[in-house]
Symmetry: C2
Subunit: 502 residues, 2 copies
């Protein structure tokens, strides 16, 4: 009975850590709106400034596998979880979402080219051991802090949307900690951007954009809307001309030309897309490709505006040159910056505020802590540049680290503080495989050069679009989603996009 | 330019109806948070108790097609819209949702057997003319009242979820009005039911149930949850033993046996389903089938409780015999009653508060008004019983009424007040085709008797389940959704249900 074994282990660790009797303390934590002080309050009161303890997973013992705790379910974390050897380690994943988002295809879901579920991969499908092995878990929670000295993290459950249960805290001891918690959308402190714009990072963002777009399409058809208001409601403004912003603009113009013209014939002349970028769109791409993209986007009706956003209001954005741009839907994708969780960690940082790592992706000042993906960057002391916040960097790091930890465990370094003197082998080296972006109208850009100055193949057009589709289809993790993405593309091609607002 | 023609028509009707100049008045209505009094206020102020006018669609003129206004996008309204002859009529549909829900398959979406979009059919796919014809529209709005004397309805837009636009009012003149606005879930005045239970009527309800179920599955795995709380979180209680309640219980037990046991191995022993019914489950079915259903449900682990709910609290329900049933997810399906919109209409009602209709589905006291589906019932004077609130009744009425109105138009009775003296032909006669319900484990009930006392075939088991699937698959309206339902069933069979919580 793996479950029974596991439950006994949990209970045991719990009894060890919590001073009051287990039954009472747990009841105190979970009693909703209880008038008596909760365990948390009691402990805080009596602990005299020292460390507060909560229920959780105790340090692993000799007869258990060492425990790897992974924070986050993005590209880096999921690749790591997929590749880690579950015979060597128990995995505990802590994340506020139970799935990975296949971000390169997220823009396609906003207009219904793809379905939301086709780009979301549940963590249990990526690594089945997490839901089957008695010592492996997925916890729907946020990590609130790390006690590096005691090899322990503090967490709080995510309960958004459900009123009948209060969030609660718990702690997990780790043998190895992998921080892959990602970055957060950056607004460069522009007033109103957070409140009024939608970022394109989670499935829920795409759902919000789709609902808003369909609502505005329908509202603008109702009697009594002025022409001016109609134009505002149906004006989609995208801020940021990186691949995400360009792909979203391309998808949107496809949607307008193919679906809106047929299914919203009454308002088709009122819908427009504007892409605002302070510098150059697709700045990381080859010049020739950039020019091609500009030409194609303009041809599809996307208006390109060079400008710096000064201020965002509920129904318009103000540019620094004094122009006002009214909008009905505003999508923001100007890049990412460190999250508040990363900011609060007291370890050396890389340029840009990311968690500083060495060539083996370790945080050098503390034992057994690794950081991968958008939350991490090479320390200045390594002499290497901070890598861009790209899926392929994150995934490559996850893959490398899983291999490294598998190797350490086999060499006897799986437990906490046991890998100090081991040989870590080859350091992590990043080799850029190139960039791709679709621009709508069955066209895409493929840039296979290793750097902006490097030499190599770069191409644009239908063939690139075909490569883009095939490449992403083959990268989708599960066969189920691969099948669904293909089916979605097929049905969109035959029947058009789905426009029910659910 | 159909659009231009249509726009001119709108503007013209607008200028005719509204005293202030069109531009200013529209601006006054739409100016968000404008300190000046809105047009509505102004009109109300100056109209001295008489009728207030808003922008909208004016009465049709000689060179236009007559206008049928349909309220609602359920089974009745959508079948009507599908079958009405768009060469004879312009159609205007007013509904707070832009799609029809294929309700018999909604229960399957709660646990991921089917996807949400596979059971939602956008109105533009049911009747393409509504988005293409210059005089046909879909308006995302609620009807707030009907002025039967002036052949006009009053509407207010639905803007839920969007802060940048206030709802506004408009009015539509009709030649024919078809009320198909449905019923609303009935809670029999039980305290707390509306606040804490989820009804299973809209796609959003199914989404809420799925999110809550997956959240509770994950939360109950986090360290620090007592056994008691775990059992509560994972206790799904269904109130109401009609086909919806039974099908949902069956789907849920399938989900538990096939997916939870594999993917949530840590908590699988804590999840349970209880079905609460005051009388008998599936009371409209053959006794033999009912007994079969009870046996199968019990075998699948569904606990059947006979009891009357007295009171609903955030985490438990109280039965009238004093029993408390703690729950994590509560689904309510005890039948339907008249909506507040129907209650407010000042026309004769049928028993049970529905809109009273004669054998031709007309409301006899007013001209050109028809009512179909769950919102209507035969007047006592017809000597016929009120038909049950079933999809097949609603659909049959929609089909009959479309034929009737097509016939009237051809006979010269398409305009307002023009059908008074025409021959309406055969009255509507309902012939029950039988009932079906699935009970999980690849088993279903098929009862082909025409009434509870009648004779005919009734069967249960795998063959019935196959008939159930085939019948519904063939009833799904569009080829796109038919394709998706088949694909969903196939992938659920191969890969299991999708458990990402998005």
């Amino acid at each position: 009975m793996p479950w029974l074994r596991n439950f006994l282990q949990l209970s045991a660790s719990y009894a060890r850590q919590s001073p009051p009797p287990p039954h009472k303390s747990a009841a105190a934590i979970f009693g909703r709106a209880s008038p008596a002080p909760s365990l948390t309050q009691l402990l805080r009161h009596f602990s005299a400034g020292s460390q507060v303890t909560y229920p959780g997973l105790a340090p692993t013992k000799g007869d258990e596998k060492p425990r790897v705790v992974v924070l986050g379910t993005g590209w880096a974390g999921c690749r790591f979880i997929k590749d880690i050897d579950t015979k060597q380690y128990d995995i505990v994943c802590v994340s506020p979402r139970n799935h990975m988002v296949f971000t390169p295809l997220l823009a396609s879901t906003c207009v219904g080219t793809l379905e939301f579920r086709s780009v979301a991969e549940p963590i249990g499908r990526i690594q089945p051991a997490i839901s089957r092995e008695p010592g492996s878990y997925f916890f729907l929670a946020n990590c609130t802090g790390v006690d590096f000295q005691n090899h322990q993290i503090h967490c709080q459950t995510v309960t958004e949307g459900v009123k009948t249960i209060d969030p609660w805290k718990f702690q997990i001891s780790y043998d190895k900690l992998v921080i892959a918690s990602g970055a957060q959308a950056s607004t460069f402190g522009i007033k109103g951007a957070k409140e009024h714009a939608t970022f394109l990072r989670e499935v829920s963002d795409a759902q919000e954009i789709r609902r808003k777009l369909l609502l505005n399409l329908m509202l603008s058809d109702v009697p009594g809307v002025t022409d001016e208001e109609k134009r505002r409601l149906l004006h989609c403004v995208v801020v940021g001309g990186g691949p995400t912003g360009v792909e979203f603009s391309g998808e949107l113009s496809d949607f307008i030309r193919k679906d809106v013209h047929q299914r919203y014939a009454h308002v088709k002349d009122y819908i427009h897309v504007t892409l605002v970028e302070a510098h150059e769109i697709l700045s990381s791409f080859d010049d020739r490709l950039r020019k091609y993209a500009i030409k194609q986007l303009t041809k599809s009706g996307v208006r390109l505006v060079r400008g710096i956003v000064k201020d965002v209001q509920p129904d318009k954005i103000n540019l620094s040159d004094g122009t006002d741009i009214p909008y009905g839907v505003l999508v923001w994708s100007t890049g990412v910056g460190p999250s508040s969780f990363v900011n609060a960690l007291e370890i050396p940082k890389a340029p840009g505020g990311r968690i500083g790592i060495d060539e083996w992706l370790r945080t050098p000042t503390v034992q057994d802590v690794y950081a991968i993906g958008d939350c991490s960057g090479f320390l200045e002391s390594t002499g290497k540049p901070v890598l861009p916040a790209l899926a392929q960097v994150a995934e490559r790091q996850g893959k490398y680290l899983a291999k490294l930890l598998n190797h350490l465990s086999k060499a006897g370094g799986g437990r906490a503080n046991a890998a100090k003197d081991l040989d870590f082998g080859e350091p992590f080296v990043y080799k850029h495989l190139g960039s791709m972006a679709t621009i709508g109208r069955y066209k895409a850009l493929v840039d296979l050069r290793q750097s902006k100055e490097g030499k190599g193949v770069s191409m644009a057009g239908f063939m690139s679009w075909f490569i883009w589709r095939s490449a992403y289809l083959s990268r989708v993790i599960s066969w189920r989603n691969r099948f669904y993405v293909a089916i979605n593309w097929l049905t969109t091609f035959i029947f058009g996009r789905d426009i029910s607002r659910i």
